[in-house]
Amino acid sequence: MSRVDGYGRIDRTRTLTFTFDGAQYTGHPGDTLASALLANGVRRIGTSVKLDRPRGITAAWGEDPTGLVQIEEPFPEPMLLATTVDLVDGLVARGLGGRGRLAEVPDTARYDRRHTHCETLVVGAGPAGLLAARTAARRGDRVVLVDDRPAAGGALLGTERICGRDALDFVADTIAELRADPDVRILPRTTAFGHYDDGFVLALERRTDHLAEPPRNVSRQRVWRIRAGHVVVATGAHERPVVVEDNDRPGIMLAASARDLLHRYGVRVGREIVVFTTDDAAHGAAADLEAAGARVTVVDPRPGAGGSATRQAQVVGTRSDAEDGAVTAVTLDDGTVLPCDTLLLSGGWNPTAHLFSHVRGALRYDAELGAFRPGEPLDGVTVVGAANGTFDLAGCLAEGRGETPEPVARTTRVVWRTEGDPARQFVDLQRDSTVADIARAVGAGMRSVEHVKRYTTIGTAHDQGRTSGVIASGITAELLGVPVESLGTTTFRPPYTPVAFAALAGRERGRLYDPERTTALHAWHVEAGAVFEDVGQWKRARYYPRPGEDMEAAVLRECAAARTGVGILDGSTLGKIDVQGPDAGVLLDRIYTNLMSSLKPGRVRYGVMCGVDGMVIDDGTVLRLDEDRFLVYTTTGGAAPILDHLEEWLQTEWPELRVSLTSVTEQWATFPVVGPRSRDVIGAFAPHVDVSNAAFPFMSWLDTEVDGVPVRLARISFSGELAWEVSVDGWHAAAVWQRLLDLGAPYAITPYGTETMHVLRAEKGYPIIGQDTDGTVTPQDLGMDWVVSKKKPDFVGRRSFARPANLDPLRKQLVGLLPVDPDLRLPEGSQIVELTDALPPPPVPMLGHVTSSYRSAALGRTFALALVKGGHARIGERLTVPVGEALVPVEVTGSVVFDPEGTRRDGEPGVH
């Protein structure tokens, strides 16, 4: 055991048991998996991805490139760093060889997100960040302070003193002051992982993994969406190793990480430690480890660095004769071999400037530092402390206060690597990429760091080049003989650290993945046993099967009811737009292909809309309510886009028109009551209304009241049958629906769904926009020249009708198809070719495709609608539809296959 008394913030009064690679160990609350493993003397964590070499823990936190583990219990999670996994009782983990395993069972943990706003966001609760947060809070800002570790303090964990006090007291006091401020939110265990425009920062809070018994109703992880007036990046720096031969063995670690492990977890990473550094900070780490009982030899090539005990030399290699592959000795450039169990490396520090870089902050190379640091400042972003390349404590505190610190002379010697075999000098320990790989890339002609990165894969792994990126640039520059600044570095992109997919999905899963829109009758449909279909976000009743019925049987029954008795549909999802104003008719004339301004109040007209490209985008009926008021019905899917379309034209093109548009889709529930007996039902429903053909003709409407409830009746038919649409406000929808069912009971009124609606309309050749059209179909293609006004000088799309391609006689046109075998229903989507007994070799010329296809109760046979090249001229011809291996002959007909004369519109002759 390498746990040292008197160090660390773990709770030694309690013991936790965990399993790693099949063996049981113990640790304490406050440990990470890495600290507990090191405390138990476990140094080898896994093997490397390419060369299968043993790998240990290289750093104390998220910058570690080697200590990857697979969690198995409490729930499988791949590719976590042992350094960031909180130890809990019963944890089961294993080391990885570079690839993780996904759980086979669903993750039932909760994830959520939370928006918050502040004047100042401070990322990082080290000395600079704490001061920045305190300064902002004291001036009255709302402050959010996030830090990715469980406790604040950052690098203030060693023996530093601030204003004569122990640094940790300063941390505690500052946190206490911030906590007392209701406008300060402190988020520990929270990693700011992405920085976007306008002060938008995303941060992942790990809320429950450290708890012995995570509550089920609390999210495991939360994505904070922080909108800040000002972002203070105080994210510190990552220590940079010096690359030496065989630098990938377990037991080789960054110097500051060893110090961190000692002070946070009471883990002394070795007894015989060699510290190889070209920077001053590691001398502090050496002193702390020595004080904790280790024997430490410091190797530093800089003349006069450290005390007299420091050896002025360089480490050029490591050796291992240990079973776990851990380092057992290092070799110096003067030939000395120093036995040891641990090698700590430090070549200086790389500012953690990711959050600055995410918003396109330019990084510039600082040759004294041997690192890239923030360059030109950005509006709304301040980088302070080590993240800004300011490494002295006084400087960090000054920057935290918003002051400019005194410049401090730099003493780092920038050494990327020492002498040795480049094939065993690892630059990216996770990708097994070496100095030799970089040399090969340069030899192959690569001159850009991006190419070198891709050639060598350096920086593409889990750690995204935190410890390797700058070194790779440095070594590449050396090999090319150019300055590092001319090469630059690869781009930092979000996320800063890996984030679970489920955390980003948040609560948008299952039923909340996308809203389900429902009509006022939804409960009734459910009760009635409806089978639903998704129509955009709507749940619409597709059919209502009776016991023993499949869809076909149910739809045949529903169709028959509507054609011979009476049926009723919930058509409430149709879009409805209230169009008001003296120029309402002018607007609609410009939007619809036909004339709307000539419609009389009390009357209804069908209309078609096109885009400027002349293609049909929507259709529906228009009711003129008043001189200056229309009610426009759109398709279900068209409700939102068509309102947007109208608003766009009105506001951006014709603002002079005195018109206003209001969506009333949910205001009105609409129920088509359809069939030869519909007059009986409507007559009973509104007994004071004369429902005779003479008094209430086709395509007219009126408002009335039933039991004091305003009701609108309109004679509109999407089936060819005698029909009324009953509209009522949504409050009274359920009651009116039930009333219609009660009154229709004597006529066996039959609720029908969207499938029956589709069959009935298809029998009449009425197209469904989006099913019988696909954005390439004009009104003329649909055989609807009659809906295109010849009188109006212009309307949206009109000019496009005159383009050459629109005049092509071989355009695809809507026709009916009757399979020669009346029992064969063509699959919708089937392609159509010339009549043939055998297909020629591909490519086979195609004539079009089947858009709608049904079995018709009224016809006693199947039929289809199709878009066919030059289809209108082909009526009467036979064509072939390949279905599976079969070649199905079909006859082209007009698109109206049922009651083409329209005799049923006013009810069965003789009735009324």
């Binding site: 192959a444 999905a505 389900e516 195609m846």
Partner: protein, 405 residues
Amino acid sequence: MAEQLPEHPDFLWRTPEPKRSYDVVIVGGGGHGLATAHYLAKNHGITNVAVLEKGWLAGGNMARNTTLIRSNYLWDESAAIYEHALQLWEGLEEDLGYPILFSQRGVLNLAHGEQDVRDSVRRVQANRLNGIDAEWLGPDEVAKLCPIVNVSDQIRYPVHGATYQPRAGIAKHDYVAWGFARSADAAGIDLIQDCEVTGFRTDGDRVTGVRTTRGEIACGQVALCAAGHTSVLLDLLGVRAPLQSHPLQALVSELLEPVHPTIVMSNAVHVYVSQAHKGELVMGAGVDAYNGYGQRGAFHIIERQMAAAVELFPVFARAHLLRTWGGIVDVTPDASPIVGHTPYANVYLNCGWGTGGFKATPGLGWCLADTLAHARPHPFLAPFALDRFVTGALVDEHGAAAVAH
């Protein structure tokens, strides 16, 4: 140990100084430009060619795409060029002598609603009649091919089935680009990096020279292969084309043991996933709505993508997003490319591939080289001429390409 990628060759390309003049100047050193150079040399013996790249070779969309290769497009015109490309992909490794890791693992395009099913059957039938491998699969068959897809009818938008193209696949994008580059370089073609085009010298209806940050270069013919930056070049020429450049994002996870044997796309819930050779999940997101040249997009698009992914693939819940990035895609009104003549007699345009440019790379390169060699559009490219927007004869692939990749 995980599966390893093959090593790159010891030598790839020279770093030449630009000459004063070339027979053909290709603007844009991405996949399309490099492939065109390769086929100019290989098929037509034309090697006095420069490829001008403003940054590093293949550093734009070629380095940023999600590497899906398929040819199951709806319309005959699209099917012809993409199928030509797919057939070239099938022999490309041999042609280039470069291990491009072309893995024909098949693509499933999921259908989530009745209209999706109709559109899918329509496309499958069209593909088959065009000689392209395509099948319609029910949910059970989808689950057999890709067991991790949630085909339960209890999800918000249940899977009603899928189209399947077995010959579709993925390839390693850098390897493809570098293979073309190495081949072109070996044939004597100059690949010139850090060379941004800043203007054109014109003489009547011809362009006689290209002005660059590395001096002026005289040219016999010019091919514009600049993808998202095409409009910037066309502005220099005073030519207008119906192009809008948008950010398109993609992302990868960490390395995972194999879980996903094929490629799954879903237009309805906007997701597209494959698992690359080393084990990372590669996913494409939707296009950001606004115009942008920033090679980055908005994060809510990624979040929505993740929600869709976890909904369709519950096992992905604890996979981790490792890296996101963005490319710049040039989108046309009909979601089909624009290739062919410009108002300048010796300048050819190749753009508007939107989200689908990678898969076309060899096919486009082959046909554009042929176009340059014969100074007329290759028959596969003819339908994609700029003048289709005047006649109205569009090749509207929106239905098939809403999430194209």
